[in-house]
C-alpha cells in the first residue's frame, strides 16, 4: 500500500468521524480553537500510526488518540481546563413556542455548564457513554483504564452531575 492509497483509505475511514472527534475534544479542552487544533493533531497522529491499527473499531481508536492529545494539552496548561462560561449563547432553537424554547435553552445551558464543571475523568466517560454511545469496553480502551474504573467513574460522574444540577436549580429558586 503506497502513501496515497493509505491516505485515501485513512480518510474514507476517519474523516466521517470528524464531528465525533471534535465533540469529544471540545468537551475536554472547553474551547473552540483548542478543540480545532486538537482534532487536527489527533488526525495527524492517527495517520502516522494508521498501519498499527488492530481489532478495535476505528471510532474508538480515533477517539482514544483525540483523548490522549487533549489530555497532553491539558497537562501542559493546567488550571485552564475548568473554565467554561462561553456556551450559554448561540444555542439553536428547536422548539416552536418561545417560552418552551427559552426553557429548553436554559435547561441545555444548565446541563452544559454542570457537565463542564465536572472533573475531566468523569466528563470524558460521560461524553463517551451518553453522546458517543460507546460500550464500557470501548470506553475502557479509549481512556486506558479497566472496565471497573469506567463503571465507577460513570456512576460517580452521574451522581456528581445530578447533585450539581440540583444545586443550580436551588440557586435559581433563591
Amino acid at each position: 500500500m503506497n502513501d496515497q492509497e493509505r491516505l485515501t483509505r485513512f480518510e474514507s475511514e476517519m474523516l466521517p468521524l470528524t464531528n465525533d472527534a471534535y465533540n469529544l475534544a471540545r468537551w475536554l479542552v472547553q474551547n473552540d480553537q483548542d478543540a480545532h487544533d486538537m482534532v487536527q493533531e489527533a488526525f495527524l497522529r492517527a495517520f502516522r500510526f494508521f498501519r498499527g491499527m488492530r481489532g478495535e473499531t476505528s471510532r474508538a481508536w480515533l477517539l482514544r488518540i483525540v483523548r490522549n492529545v487533549c489530555y497532553d494539552h491539558l497537562r501542559k496548561r493546567p488550571g485552564l481546563s475548568n473554565s467554561s462560561d462561553s456556551d450559554q449563547e448561540n444555542l439553536p432553537d428547536t422548539n416552536p413556542s418561545p417560552e418552551a424554547a427559552l426553557q429548553t435553552k436554559s435547561e441545555i445551558a444548565a446541563v452544559r455548564s454542570a457537565l463542564a464543571k465536572l472533573p475531566e475523568d468523569f466528563r470524558t466517560v460521560l461524553v463517551l457513554r451518553e453522546m458517543e454511545e460507546l460500550s464500557y469496553r470501548e470506553i475502557s480502551e479509549i481512556t486506558q483504564v479497566p472496565i471497573g474504573t469506567v463503571m465507577s467513574r460513570l456512576a460517580r460522574g452521574r451522581q456528581h452531575l445530578t447533585d450539581l444540577l440540583k444545586q443550580m436549580r436551588a440557586k435559581d429558586l433563591l
Partner: protein
C-alpha cells in the same frame, strides 16, 4: 435483590452492561420498589438531557478540509507512488546534475564503444542532452514506459517502421550487458543521424535515434541491464 444492591448496579443496568439474569432481577426489583424506581427515573432523565443533540459541539466548516490539506502535506509530495524510487524527492538541482552525469556517460560510451566523439561544449548537443535527460526521466516517472514492449528486434523494428519514414540501424548492446525491452516514439531535435545511448544508475536505459532533421519524431528503444533481476516498473534489486 436489596435496594443497595440495586443502586450499586444501577449504572451498568442503565447502560445495558449487566448480564441477562441480573437485568431480569433488577427489572423485577424496579417493579416492586418505588424508591428505586424514582432513582432509576432520575437517571433516565439525566441521560435524556445529556443526549440532547444541542449539547454536542460541531466543528467549524473548514476543519475537514484543513485536516485533508495537512495530511496531504504529510505524505511525500509528487512521485510519492513510485515505490521503486524510494524516498527520492526530485529537488530542483537534480535535472542539471543528471544532465551533467548524462553528458559524462554519453562521452564515455561514445569514446569507448560505438559513438563518434561528442563535443559537449557544443550548445546544440547540450540542448539535445537535456532533451534526452528529460525524455529519459519522463520514461522513468510515468506508467507509460513503452509504446511497444518486446525483447525481439523483429517486433520492435517493424513497429517503428509503420510509424516513421526512416529506419535506423539496429543496435545490439548485449555485449555491454543491456537487453532490449521495448520502444517508444519521442520528440527530439536531432541534427545528426546519430544514435544516443542513455544510461543512468537506474536499471532502465534508453537509446534514441532520430532522422537528422530538427524537432521530429524519433525512436527510443529501451534496454535493461541483463544482470539485473528487476522487472520494469518495480525493480526488486
Amino acid at each position: 435483590m436489596t435496594c443497595s444492591e440495586f443502586q450499586k448496579r444501577i449504572d451498568p443496568f442503565l447502560d445495558n452492561e449487566v448480564d441477562l439474569a441480573t437485568a431480569q432481577e433488577m427489572q423485577r426489583h424496579l417493579e416492586e420498589c418505588a424508591d428505586c424506581e424514582t432513582f432509576f427515573a432520575a437517571r433516565l432523565a439525566l441521560r435524556q438531557r445529556l443526549q440532547t443533540p444541542e449539547l454536542r459541539f460541531l466543528p467549524a466548516a473548514d476543519l475537514r478540509s484543513e485536516i485533508h490539506a495537512q495530511l496531504q502535506k504529510e505524505i511525500r509530495p509528487p512521485l510519492a507512488h513510485f515505490n521503486w524510487l524510494p524516498r527520492l524527492q526530485f529537488p530542483n538541482w537534480i535535472l542539471p546534475t543528471l544532465a551533467g552525469a548524462a553528458a559524462v556517460l554519453v562521452f564515455w560510451f561514445g569514446s569507448t564503444t560505438f559513438l563518434s566523439p561528442v563535443r559537449s561544449s557544443n550548445g546544440a548537443n547540450n540542448t539535445l542532452i537535456e532533451q534526452l535527460v528529460s525524455n529519459h526521466l519522463r520514461s522513468l516517472v510515468g506508467n507509460h514506459l513503452f509504446d511497444v514492449a518486446s525483447s525481439d528486434q523483429h517486433t520492435v523494428k517493424p513497429w517503428f517502421a509503420g510509424k516513421l519514414n526512416f529506419s535506423p540501424p539496429v543496435f545490439d548492446f548485449s555485449e555491454q550487458g543491456f537487453k532490449l525491452i521495448g520502444g517508444r516514439l519521442d520528440y527530439l531535435a536531432m541534427r545528426k543521424r546519430q544514435p544516443w545511448f542513455f544510461s543512468t544508475r537506474s536499471t532502465i536505459s534508453t537509446c534514441s535515434f532520430g532522422p537528422g532533421t530538427s524537432r521530429v519524431l524519433c525512436q527510443t528503444r529501451f534496454f535493461r541491464r541483463k544482470d539485473s533481476t528487476c522487472t520494469v516498473g518495480k525493480p526488486t534489486a
